[in-house]
């Protein structure tokens, strides 16, 4: 048994076709994404919506490698940074169109993840955790010190939003508009969610879970663990890379500090607070931990103290995260109604 299994609340993946309830769920999610910015008109809160969408992308990506494949990766900030810097530099230095840079930036992050998996093949648990942390430190230091390329701590300024989509006869879609940018990022996150959801419910998901639960037994069943670990790492870090590609034009500036190792911990916290080993959990975790600090902004410096405390308290008292809390609540409601 893997050491991760006691905290994973997910039931075993079942082979089910694209069930009607899932389709309904995805449609509801799409509807929420469409409607949300119509109610949230304040540009400050619209900014937070976009940050939430970026964080959702980061969290579900990390959960794929951490919760499903069971690989202790605590260096996700590296891939986030690689995506952000690679795409921005391709646009600004080589004049590539945004979407080409987006694809290359995402692939570059995915490739870096596959390379890191070279270590995951040979390392277990904490060794991998530290190796991934070390990788994140190296990437951060390169961003900080390769001044001729990244301008180091001074940062890159004036990054333009993605180009407007102009279809003749239809009003132009401008991504300088926060609402449209939110649609773009959240829509992309939803697509990634659906792809990951289908993947974890397919034999791929079972293969990854088998590796997580017991790598030796999985290998004895003919599972090529190194290949699948590389796959999980590549998918996970490509998602983080894509998040980075959106982050840069959204914020408009890039500084290495945005991709310091503490960012990895923030993403990790979102996965844990939401519920590791489920895909829906990290979505709620990401939204909660993005929005909660904003509500706490009125208490100033206490904000991040509460953030840290909530992470610790969730681990101590509700290690399955929000998902487990819901599950317990539902069970309690069912058993009560059953008694009557």
């Amino acid at each position: 048994m893997s050491d991760l299994s006691p905290i994973i609340a997910a039931p075993k993946a079942k082979h089910r076709p694209f069930a009607i309830t899932r389709l309904a769920g995805f449609l509801i999610a799409a509807l929420v994404i469409i409607v949300l910015p119509l109610f949230v008109t304040d540009s400050y809160w619209r900014t937070n919506l976009i940050v939430s969408a970026i964080n959702v992308l980061l969290a579900i990506g990390l959960d794929f490698v951490l919760g499903y494949a069971g690989q202790l990766n605590i260096g996700q900030s590296a891939f986030y940074g690689i995506g952000a810097y690679a795409s921005t530099l391709l646009v600004m230095k080589l004049g590539l169109p945004f979407w080409a840079a987006f694809v290359i930036g995402t692939l570059a992050a995915g490739l870096a993840g596959a390379l890191l998996s070279f270590f995951a093949v040979r390392l277990r648990g904490h060794y991998l955790a530290i190796a991934s942390l070390g990788f994140a430190v190296i990437v951060y230091q390169i961003l900080l010190n390769w001044i001729s390329l990244t301008q180091g701590p001074l940062g890159i300024y004036g990054i333009k939003p993605p180009p407007a989509i102009a279809i003749p006869g239809v009003p132009q879609v401008v991504f300088a508009d926060l609402r449209n940018l939110f649609y773009l990022v959240a829509g992309f996150a939803l697509v990634v969610y659906i792809v990951l959801d289908q993947m974890v419910r397919s034999p791929i998901g079972e293969t990854l879970t088998a590796i997580r639960e017991d790598e030796v037994s999985a290998a004895s069943l003919g599972i090529d663990a190194p290949k699948w670990k590389a796959f999980a790492f590549a998918v996970s870090s490509a998602a983080a890379g894509a998040a980075g590609c959106f982050y840069a034009p959204f914020v408009g500036t890039l500084v290495p500090d945005a991709f310091f190792i503490t960012e990895s911990f923030t993403i990790l916290a979102m996965v844990i607070v939401g519920g590791m080993g489920t895909l829906i959990g990290p979505v709620f975790g990401a939204i909660l931990l993005t929005v909660l600090p904003e509500f706490l902004r009125s208490i100033g410096d206490l904000r991040l103290i509460v953030y840290g405390a909530s992470v610790t308290l969730v681990v101590l008292f509700m290690p399955g995260g929000i998902v487990e809390a819901f599950r317990l609540l539902r069970r309690r409601l069912y058993s009560e109604s059953g008694m009557r």
Binding site: L123, F135, V137, I138, F265, A269, R303, I305, Y307, V315
Partner: protein
Amino acid sequence: MSSIVLQQAINGIVVGSLYVLVALGLTLIYGVLVQINFAHADIVTLGAFAAYGVTHLLSGNYLAGIAAALVLGAALGWLINAGIFAPLRERGSELLPLIATIGVSIMLQNTMLALLGPIPYAFDTPYSNQVLRFGTLFLTMQNVLIILVSSISIGLLYGFMKFTFLGKALRAVSQDRETAGLMGINPNHLIMLTFVIASALAGLGGAMLGPVLVLTPFAGTSVIVKAFAIVIIGGFGNVEGTILAGLLVGLIESYTTQFLDPGLIDIVVFALLLLTLAVRPTGLIAERREENV
């Protein structure tokens, strides 16, 4: 040229021995529990601030500051074990305590930030300005103090582990907790003892790193990432390996600063770490732990 090489060797050993103090704590806890305490970084920072505060309150008595940091570190170690690691032990997860202590670390750093502010503190000890010269080489009294205190504490720890009953019990627990329990050793007490010793060392290291570091609430993080590299290079849970790797990282740091660029220190250290892991997945000096299949 050769005097520069020698001078940097001295500097490297001074900084390296402080890294050893911090890394030994991590490796002791790992040896007994197979767990990582991420808040170890903040014990280093708090140790540095405690030493700073006491030194300034007592009109420059730095030694009292070091003692205060040691005591504060021990107390924090006790608290973190009682509050986080002990309740999580029965769940048997390698990830949960790591994340819980990341939460503790965020809490501690931001509490310090609220109380102390982001501006670095200038921590000068009375010993920093007393210089001993040997030809072209020089040593500050601070460096002498660091080498003395750290070698005494490392020596005491080594002797304690090797020769006392408690030390032997501690090693027994780290080899096989259940069998040690059957031999009448209470593993919970020894785990607590390990945390207290490990954290006292971190506090001690912080007190002496304070004058070297950019002393902000986040100072410990830069130390802890190196300490992680050290425990991996030396082999998790391996005391001798940690000492060697700590000095090695200290030397790499001072030579990188001298001959390359201070900005490259972390890159060189972690490149070495990844290289080590690629060649020998359990560190330079292998961890003695069998895998249960």
